[in-house]
Amino acid sequence: MSFMQIKDLKVHYPIRGGFFNTVVDNVYAVDGISMEFEKGKAYGLVGESGCGKSTTGKSIIGLEKISAGSIIYEGENVTNKRRDRASAYNRDIQMIFQDSHSSLNPRKRVQDILAEPIRNFLKLTPQEESRRINELLAIVGMPEDARLKYPHEFSGGQKQRLGIARAIATNPKLIIADEPVSALDLSVQAQVLNFMKDIQDEYGLSYLFISHDLGVVKHMCDYISIMYKGRFVESGTKKDIYDNPQHIYTKRLLSAIPDVTPNGREDRKLERIEVERNYQAEHKQYFDENGRVYDLSPISDTHFVAATSSALKGGN
């Protein structure tokens, strides 16, 4: 049973121009996407740069204004609502930022950074607050003497863990992770990702995992949506997407994952060329005359593809 539904979400930025500075056109950053979130599941959002992944995350948490569509949280419409900053919705949806360095205020000590959500959302006594901060530091595996330090005294991985500690401080239901590991090197990526998985199991968190790294998404997510130009091209379980990709854009994206084994290098190259040839040939069936992605249509209970019906029949 999903606790949160997103219906036909749109974020458009007006382009102003002309003599009277009127709206001449729109940038369709996010153009009609729908999602559902269930407790304890991780949802991946994959796509190339500038396809609207981050905008989606930011509009869900309320940092971007939603142009159309609705967000239903536990039966209540919370779209663009002028809600109290300390409302239940704001408490239950938290975010982990891509750039851990700039997401921590350089002028505040760790204990004040971690105390910010606690003071705003939970009414705790100073002793309880202090205990909670120690608890959070223990959860992310940092020593208690980190409390008095400033963000610049930590490494990138540690800073990202502080960001995670801050996000889970209020026991949220959904964490929007906007490329949380793309600024980290691979060993630290693994450490942070495994750690995020651990706390997910422990606290029954849901994740909206935004990334352009298909390997990371495969590791983390149960459901994956592929995004292109503000729309979903394909959406399904991890198995659906990786084992049975239907949309040519998904195929193209998956064939772009590098493989380090030298064996079969030639075969993979041929395969990529084949996918690219297919992409050029069948382009018309997957994108309409304006280059817009078609609406999603189901091909199984969990698997949705944006294509004309002829493409789906002919494709496989």
Binding site: K58, I61, G62, L63, R85, A86, S87, N90, R91, I93, Q94, M95, F97, Q98, D99, S102, S103, L104, N105, P106, R107, K108, R109, E116, P117, N120, F121, D145, L148, K149, Y150, H152, E153, G163, R166
Partner: protein
Amino acid sequence: MVKEKDNKKEQEIISAPPTGMQVVWREFIKDRVAMFSLIIMVLAISGVFIASLFFDPAEVMKVSLRSKYAPPSSLHWLGADIGGSDVFGQLIIGAKNSLLIAIAITLITGTVGIFIGLACGYFGGWIDNMFMRIIDFFITLPSLMIIIVFITIVPKYTVFTFILIVSLFGWTSIARLVRSKALSESRRDYVNASKTLGTNDFVIIFKEVMPNISSILIVEATLSFAGNIGIETGLTFLGFGLPPSTPSLGTLVAYANNPLVMSTYWWVWLPAALFILILMLSINYVGQALRRAADAKQRLG
């Protein structure tokens, strides 16, 4: 202004706060002129305020024709002016008045400028647009002319009205500077994070954004303080500042308008002119050292 703590002593403290005080101090130690200026500035300002306690304005301004244009002596350390009033006493009280006026103007313009600049930079949109157009309007006005006209038509102006009228034109430059800094600072992720963590805008502006631009605020306040001393003395020199009954640095320098005083009775105007020169120079050097300390690329120390 962070991460500077190779000092052995500093490392013993568990976590040295990056307030930048050490950085500023190092900058002054590296730059002799700035250090010297800092000492002069502190001595001059504190000296003026302490010495003014020993002078009674009414006593100093008392006319005594017997000592008209008396040269410096043990009775009048810096001589006397046309009315026989002690120049040294006038210098101390005048400097105190001028400094107080400059401080008041700096505080008023600073507060208003920071408040409006932060609001513009943080909220953007129509608030920003509205205030920026108002500021554009103020900047196109010939402020000196308007101040002079205002002082001429207001029948009985006091120190207070003088401060207000000068402040009316002074806040725009600070507001613009703060806005530009707040604009870039407000787009950073920690502000977004604070929003998602349920902190309200007012707290974000003053507790999150402002501390991060505080260095530039201090520098700007210091430099505009020097400028404000100049504005007051300049206007008074031209005869549009404080009334002659209130001694200020400007009224003393204004005696030099008279060629006879200028050439013969140098002790009337020279001390005030030198005091202004030294004070403004030293404040400027201190301000520049602070500005360098605030910017890691320009730092000497």
